[in-house]
């Protein structure tokens, strides 16, 4: 398909969306649909294999026989975490390096650098903690780094404004004065073209070509957005809201919607199509129409992260003060580490598990 045909497809879809009359659905119908979908999900997660996996973990707070400290990670790679006590890089041999008083952090696309933020500062930091550059900006949140090995961009929110700055800290711009952003981390589509997805305060997903400042597409509004995630091949974008997971492909029309309440975090499998979804008390995998619960427990989970080899999931379990590593590639296994808060000054949020050592 050449440039003209690609552009015509986008223009035609935008035009049809503009002239489409929103169809009203009676609230009772919506409830029925959501209820049926929830029942389907419940049926899937409580199937015999699901129960077998859960075992006696369901009502316990914490995994028994957990290691007292983080002696090693179960897969190659480095973890980036942040807590009230700062940001840390954890190597696969369990060694930890504190990067500084940063409250949020994420990896550059190939793990060479970290972009970190405090309340009023954005900085590019080496994994050793050395600050390469910094920008003073108000109310900085959700710094995210994308691009290729030779040309990168960092997106972040300053208050409700979406900003994009080059990887060397120059050219910081409010993204074309577009609509205000919801408090959801923007997400770069993997690849060199600097395509960014973010959610507006009205709940619309906007996908931008940030270099030209042009809008590739925008979705219908979805109330209560919580998270965005791209698949590693850039062909799927997942939007998580309070009551559903919406999957987009190349345009604003969803290719699938799963009604799942209470999802807090979502991450696509590296190199695959499965999505790990974390709720307060369980973690499950969404693979097309199949839902598999892989871990559950009492208390509260705070996120989920895939290992770079896609064989393990890290589930931070705040109430148990544990990190639980759940093997999802090959035989099901669980490893757990206790006393996490003591090791990081406070119980940390897991940023990402990246890129080999």
């Amino acid at each position: 398909m050449n440039a003209e045909e690609r552009a015509w497809e986008v223009v035609r879809r935008a035009y049809e969306e503009r002239i489409a009359t929103p169809r009203r659905t009676a609230p009772s119908n919506k409830l029925v649909v959501a209820g049926v979908a929830a029942a389907v999900l419940a049926g899937a997660v409580l199937s015999p294999p699901g129960r077998a996996v859960l075992g006696d973990l369901r009502e316990s707070v914490g995994v028994e026989h957990a290691q007292p400290g983080l002696f090693s990670l179960p897969a190659p790679g480095r973890l980036l975490v942040a807590s009230e006590a700062g940001a840390w890089v954890v190597a696969d041999d369990g060694s930890r390096r504190r990067l500084g008083d940063w409250r949020d952090a994420s990896w550059s696309p190939f793990g060479r650098f970290v972009v970190a933020s405090s309340a009023d500062e954005l900085a590019a930091v080496e994994p050793t903690g050395k600050v390469r550059w910094s920008l003073a900006r108000p109310q900085v949140r959700f710094p995210r780094w994308g691009g290729s090995r030779v040309d990168t961009r960092i997106a972040y929110l300053s208050g409700s404004r979406l900003h994009v700055v080059a990887g060397d800290g120059t050219g910081d711009v409010d993204q074309n004065g577009g609509p205000a952003a919801a408090q959801v981390a923007p997400a770069w589509r993997p690849g060199p073209r600097h395509v960014l997805a973010y959610v507006t305060t009205s709940g619309r997903v906007h996908v931008l070509h940030t270099d030209g400042g042009s809008l590739a597409w925008r979705s219908a509004p979805y109330p209560n957005p919580r998270a965005l995630a791209w698949s590693s091949d850039g062909t799927r974008l997942a939007l998580v809201t309070r009551d559903r997971v919406v999957l987009f492909a190349a345009g604003p029309r969803p290719v699938a919607t799963r009604f799942v309440r209470g999802v807090l975090a979502a991450e696509f499998e590296p190199g695959g199509s499965r999505i790990a979804l974390a709720r307060a008390r369980d973690v499950f995998l969404l693979d097309g129409s199949r839902v598999t619960r892989v871990f559950a427990g009492a208390g509260r989970f705070s996120g989920v992260a895939w290992s770079p080899d896609a064989r393990w999931l890290l589930v931070p379990w705040r109430d148990a003060d544990q990190w639980v590593f759940v093997r999802v590639g090959g035989a099901h296994r669980i490893r757990a580490v206790s006393n996490v808060a003591r090791q990081f000054g406070a119980f940390p949020r897991v940023g990402a598990w990246c890129c080999g050592s």
Binding site: A7, W8, I19, V150, D168, G212, S214
Partner: protein, 165 residues
Amino acid sequence: MGERAWIRGAQRGSVEDLERLFREHWPRAHRAAFLVTGDAAAAEDIAQEAFLAAIRHLDRFDRRRPFGPWLHRIVVNRAIDWTRARRLRAEVELGDHVAGPPPPELDGSAFARIADLTPEHRAVVVLRYVLEYTPGEIASLLDLPRGTVNSRLRRGLDRLQEERA
């Protein structure tokens, strides 16, 4: 049926009329964006975004006015902005941006010559000699004094002649 009828049809919901309008104006809009930016991907994005802007404002568009100048104003201004932003964002440490190949329908030698001009000069040269606007129309499109347009044209042409010589 002409452009006005296509705009009227598009305002009333006709995809066919919108497509006629798009097919009529895409090649020149895309070409102008490419000549100013020198980047195939950016040109595609910029021309596409100009059409999306046209759709957003379709209901308020005055059918008595020609569509082309309005579209080209968006295209060229965005292309200038993109080129300036790219210069600002050049990553000294990590290497420079690599432009994509020109669209096949463009004359490579003409592109090579015009690429050495500043984006501001490129824009007036493209508007004058590719899209064939008068200097007065260019001044209006770019919100520039007529004298500035003339001087940019003169300097742009001088540079092009130097490179041909």
